[in-house]
Amino acid sequence: MRFRRALASMWLTAAVLCGNCVQAGPSAAPGEGEWTMPSKDFAATRYSTLADINRQNASSLHPVWTFSSGVLGGHEGQPLVVGDTMYVVTPWPNVLYAFDLTREGYPLRWKYRPEVDANALGVACCDSVNRGAFYADGKIVYNLLDGHTVAVDARTGRELWKVQIATLGNGETTTMAPLVVRDRIIVGAAGGEFGIYGWLKALDLSNGHTVWSASNLGPDEEMGIRADTFRPPYDQGANLGTQSWGNDSWRTGGAPVWGWMSYDPDLDLVYYGTGNPSPYNAEQRPGDNKWSTSVLARHPGDGALVWAYQFTPHDNWDYDATGAMVLADLVVAGRPVKALVHFDKNGFAYTLDRVTGRLLVAQPFIPLNWAQSVDLNSGRPVLNPAKQTGVSNGNVKNICPSLEGGVSPASPPAYSPRTHLFYTSTSNLCMDYAVRHARHLKGTPFVGVVSPYSAGPGGYLGSFLAWDAATGRKVWENREPFPNWSGALVTAGDVVFYGTLDGWFKSADARSGRVLSKFKVGSGVVGNPITYRGPDGRQYVAVYAGFGGDWALIAGDARSDDPTDVRAPAEPTTQIARHTSMGGMVWIFAR
């Protein structure tokens, strides 16, 4: 989905001729200077061909504009730039801002304030986050925290439709950004901490009506599994979505969807990851628990499941697989492959054949000890028996990585076809894990864990690194004092961009990792940088500041707005509130 320069400059000319016309981009194909979908392209590369900002001049990067979102929750996600308008979605209460990039100071064209049920604040497991919007067919489409999807007219801000897709009372909230393929909007719900029955739905772009709905676990017919289309690479048999769950535990088994999706137009497959099985006490759900903590490949037209691969069978550690599935064409062991690359919470980076789902490479990208390795023949992890959890194992000490993951699924990686490298944030934390028998009570968490964290081996808490997914090798790594929680952006200027939890926004040489610029952006960064060409022809880089996500809950003392809720700082991030507090801000940088 990357377009040649000639095409983009043609579009730019059109935009100039049409002056104030916001619809310039919409009907035209997305130009290279735009950012119309969460991950930049269907392959989820977060790679931009813009190169005006490059490794020679990025040291002059400086802020040119800021805007307070007026909201305190964790600002995950990223802005969109369509034509000459920038769109920003906030965490709950999910305000949508449209900025006019043609005028000095980028005043608002409009602002959309939906009604969103405040009860969602208790049901969302981990802060009031939203991971962004998708632009398609003149509409900005996004999810509200309380289980609704809305479509808003990109030009006027008028609400076109609003539909309920998920049910708060069942423990479902909607934090993810939708993916739009043709006239289908693909959405899922979070709730792995509430024992939901996880699913994926396709809505009609014109009116929001559900076209199909498929579960991520349960009987074959509910999962969209048909004998003639389902070809899993390793697991055989009917109804694995019930057979691999003892005690009928699939009914409240979780497997939510709240991360990033990608799409291969040639194979006509949508790829997405599922979250943890519920509850955390694995002994209540004997078996592999398919298809939680897995990647699933479905046809967007009818939802048919084509293949699925489970990263962490019988998850004992809350290792959700909702992180991005990046599609890239790589050469692995001398053979060109249509690959899918995924950095999992469990600490392994996986390279799969995205046609078949077969595993090609699996190597740790951070220190881990729950498994020794992943067996390429069976696709299964070789477990470390000392790190298995469950009520009968009591308090299991020092499991790495922690349940925050080797990387947060909320922090998507980037891939550059120029360097052939992937770029990702990491967290280097370990945990103790003591579970109890959990009771399922709708509307309350189905979790039952006590899990304090500690610093991982090496004494640093996180990093940003470059990864060769063809060989499973780390190429360079910048250690950070705190877990790193931002997404990545890489450009044809061979510059990679990321933010840190203590509030630095950095650019670095994509080949060496050498930091080229850094600026303190007012609050910790848990969002994802983007780049675009403004109506004035200049290249800009935009990112949210706005500390939050799990860290707003764990760091305890990073919040300042509620005098009736004061918390002690938590190990091992006791220093974080010294560097940041909560507060959403949009930043734009230029050179």
Partner: protein, 172 residues
């Protein structure tokens, strides 16, 4: 915004009348007292048709006029054995999933910091748990019954407020 409570266990809450019945003995009915104790310049008295109400100590009073109503009293106040059952109930009912281990705070506020969003009186804490609160606190009235809720209130009262949280100071 209208108040649509999330109900724990999806069971409908019992009517107010049935809530008050088991605790009726514990109500200190202050209505009569208040009607003669009102300041002379208070606005017209509340219609006698007004439903029986529970009063909240934390509320501001318009014109300083106290609202007729009852305050709820914890039948188990200070009972250490009940507090221990309350601690068990706190995990059994998944309160810790939202409020953290020992109520130290997660998506729900810290319940052990000695500070209360909806008032510190036992009856106010009872109301938070029984009826829920609109920013995501489920109503547990039906799932727990009045006595279960009082058991939790008794436990929450025993959580020791840490001394050093309100002011942070960092040393290198």
């Amino acid at each position: 915004m209208d108040f649509r409570p999330v109900m724990a266990g999806l069971a409908p809450l019992r009517s107010r009348g049935r809530l008050l019945r088991p605790t009726a003995a514990l109500l200190i009915l202050t209505g009569a007292l208040l009607s003669c104790g009102q300041p002379h310049d208070a606005p017209a008295t509340v219609s006698p048709a007004a439903p029986p109400a529970v009063t909240y100590e934390s509320h501001l009073l318009a014109g300083e006029a106290p609202v007729p109503g009852a305050s709820l009293t914890n039948p188990h106040a200070g009972d250490a054995a009940v507090a221990r059952s309350g601690a068990a109930l706190f995990t059994a009912m998944n309160c810790d999933g939202c409020h953290g281990t020992d109520g130290t705070g997660w998506v729900g506020p810290n319940l052990g910091d000695g500070r209360w969003r909806y008032g510190r009186a036992d009856g106010e804490i009872f109301s938070s748990i029984y009826y829920g609160r609109p920013h995501g606190m489920p109503a547990f009235g039906a799932a727990l019954g009045a006595d279960g809720v009082w058991t939790l209130v008794t436990y929450l009262r025993t959580l020791p407020a840490p001394a050093d949280v309100p002011t942070e100071s960092w040393q290198d």
